[in-house]
């Protein structure tokens, strides 16, 4: 595994008026690494993801993608730099077909395809995420996991240098969950650089090379899943203190 830094977050802070949602966060991801961003609800994980993808502007601090500053850029520019994402609540383009939903990710972003090569790649991507449904079906015909697959395929269409998965496994039933974990694992073996925000501990253990744990907007631990999940402070953050 190379040690080239894919993403480097330095002192990232986000304030909403008086509320500090993310405070002085710093961490690094190497290329080809899968990083888990975990923490209790409301700890600032999604805000952190929004800062990286540009959905929210950073209040102070820096974010660099392969050595280039991306904090301060607009979300569409960051996407063109090679950051793709999925959303906590799945977002579909409802008036379009399954195929068009996937194609949407490959036209304007880091990879800009059009015409037959776009369609070819979109079909290939749908196959890769395990879609068996007719590609010309409307979105309303899809099950929840298939919608998640479409969203993942859309994100992959830009051939991203960094993929952000915001609770991509949430809401799946146990058998779907295993399918989902296998799918992300496949991406990991391909050498993709991924940040996953997750609550599913099984997924974190089996997928992540490293974890960053957040609580109350700050980083409270960092290390391998094994290390952080046995960390005193992490356990306290999730389960409450000894006196509770």
């Amino acid at each position: 595994m190379t040690t080239r830094s894919a993403l480097s977050v330095k002192n990232a802070t986000k304030r909403f008026g008086g509320l500090i949602a993310v405070s002085g966060m710093s961490f690094e991801i190497a290329e080809h690494e899968v990083l888990g961003l975990i923490g209790p609800n409301g700890s600032g994980k999604t805000t952190m993801m929004n800062l990286i993808s540009g959905a929210l502007s950073i209040s102070s601090g820096h974010i660099q993608l392969f050595g280039q500053n991306i904090s301060g850029l607009s979300a569409h520019s960051i996407s063109r730099q090679g950051v793709a994402r999925t959303f906590q609540l799945v977002r579909m383009l409802n008036s379009m077909t399954v195929l068009q939903n996937v194609e949407a990710g490959g036209v304007f972003g880091h990879q800009r395809l059009w015409g037959p090569s776009l369609q070819f790649q979109a079909e290939e991507m749908l196959e890769k995420v395990g879609m068996t449904v007719d590609m010309d079906s409307p979105i309303s015909a899809l099950t929840y996991i298939d919608q998640k697959r479409v969203e993942l395929a859309r994100a992959l269409m830009s051939n991203p240098r960094l993929l952000l998965l915001d609770e991509w496994l949430a809401g799946l039933n146990p058998s779907e969950l295993q399918i989902g974990i296998d799918l992300i694992n496949k991406l990991r073996l391909e050498g993709r650089t991924i940040i996953v925000v997750e609550h599913v501990m099984d997924a974190i253990r089996s997928l992540c090379d490293r974890c960053v744990v957040m609580n109350g907007g700050i980083k409270i631990a960092e290390g391998t899943p094994q290390e952080v999940l046995t960390d005193e402070e992490v356990i306290r953050a999730y389960l409450g203190g000894h006196d509770a």
């Binding site: 569409h76 994402r85 977002r91 990710g105 304007f108 830009s158």
Partner: protein
């Protein structure tokens, strides 16, 4: 081009050619209603180019139209007519770019209200300029341009708008707009510069509306701000586009023709209740056919075909 596209293209050309024959019918009534229909065909189609995919309802059409009229009215004594039409087009483009930059950050109802207020604002400015600088409250546009000529000019502009719309629908820009209309957040994170895409389309519809105003100025002969900047025009454009179906390029025209014929009948029969009638039309359309005639037709075509086979 696919076979379907070639067929549709041929149908469109035949329809335009047939429409071009209307002035030869020799009936002043039909020519007059033909000009009205052609006017709204151009306005609604260009309006739908922007509002159809993005779902931003613009009520600024009347403002651009009025500016086009006043450019011609104000300059007709100094500059040749066609020069004025060109100036109107450029002015419309610049103005819509500025308005787009300022307003497209607004979403939903705020955008609607802003564009409505804008039309009134521009009308007040024009009136003020006229009363402080000019002598009379109106302007005379006396040219030797006849009604059939105006009709053909509008048809040509309409054909141009159709071609442009067809080209946009096939282009990346059209795809970007459909994504924006579905979910702007997805659009942004797919790398689409949403502001740029929206402004381009807003400029197209604003410029076309200004040109229409400039082309129609010779028809009125006497231009007054209350006529040129009538908010009714903006509303009718929205209604006809929705009636036809703003999601399809050919949607607005399917709405314009029946609406204008019905409108002509209503204004003649109930001259004092036209606004009321307009409101009722709007309610009926929204309740009964939310996707417009185009939606109805597309829903029933597969059924008809299914029955045949």
């Amino acid at each position: 081009m696919t076979r379907n596209e070639i067929r549709n293209f041929a149908i469109t050309i035949v329809l335009f050619a047939l429409a071009a024959l209307v002035p030869f019918a020799g009936s002043g009534y039909w020519l007059s209603i033909g000009v009205t229909i052609a006017t709204y065909m151009v306005l609604s189609t260009s309006w739908a180019l922007f509002s159809g995919p993005t779902h931003y309802i613009s009520l600024a059409t009347g403002a651009f139209y009025g500016i086009g009229m006043f450019v011609v009215g104000g300059g007709i004594d100094f500059i040749p007519y066609w020069g004025l039409v060109a100036i109107a087009g450029v002015l419309g483009a610049i103005l819509s770019a500025l308005i787009g930059l300022a307003t497209l950050r607004l979403s939903g109802v705020y955008f609607v209200i802003f564009t409505l207020g804008l039309a009134e604002f521009i009308r007040q400015i024009v009136t003020w300029v006229q009363t402080t600088m000019g002598s009379s409250s109106g302007l005379y546009v006396l040219t030797d341009i006849t009604e059939p000529m105006i009709y053909w000019e509008l048809l040509i502009l309409g054909a141009f708008v159709y071609l442009l719309g067809w080209w946009i629908n096939r282009s990346r820009l059209g795809f970007a707009l459909r994504i924006i209309g579905n979910d702007e957040v997805v659009a942004v994170h797919s790398g689409i510069n949403t502001a740029y895409a929206k402004i381009i389309l807003f400029i197209v519809s604003g410029t076309v509306a200004t040109l229409v105003g400039a082309l129609l100025a010779p028809r009125l002969s006497y231009i007054e701000s209350s006529i040129a900047f009538s908010p009714m025009l903006s509303f009718i454009v929205v209604i006809t586009a929705l009636l036809g179906g703003a999601q399809r390029l050919w949607g607005p025209i399917v709405g314009v023709i029946p609406f204008m014929l019905a409108w002509d009948f209503l204004t003649a029969t109930f001259p004092n209740q036209t606004t009321l009638m307009l409101g009722i039309c709007f309610l009926l359309i929204v309740y009964a056919i939310p996707n417009g005639f185009a939606g109805l037709i597309e829903k029933h075509i597969p059924q008809l075909r299914g029955r045949r086979s």
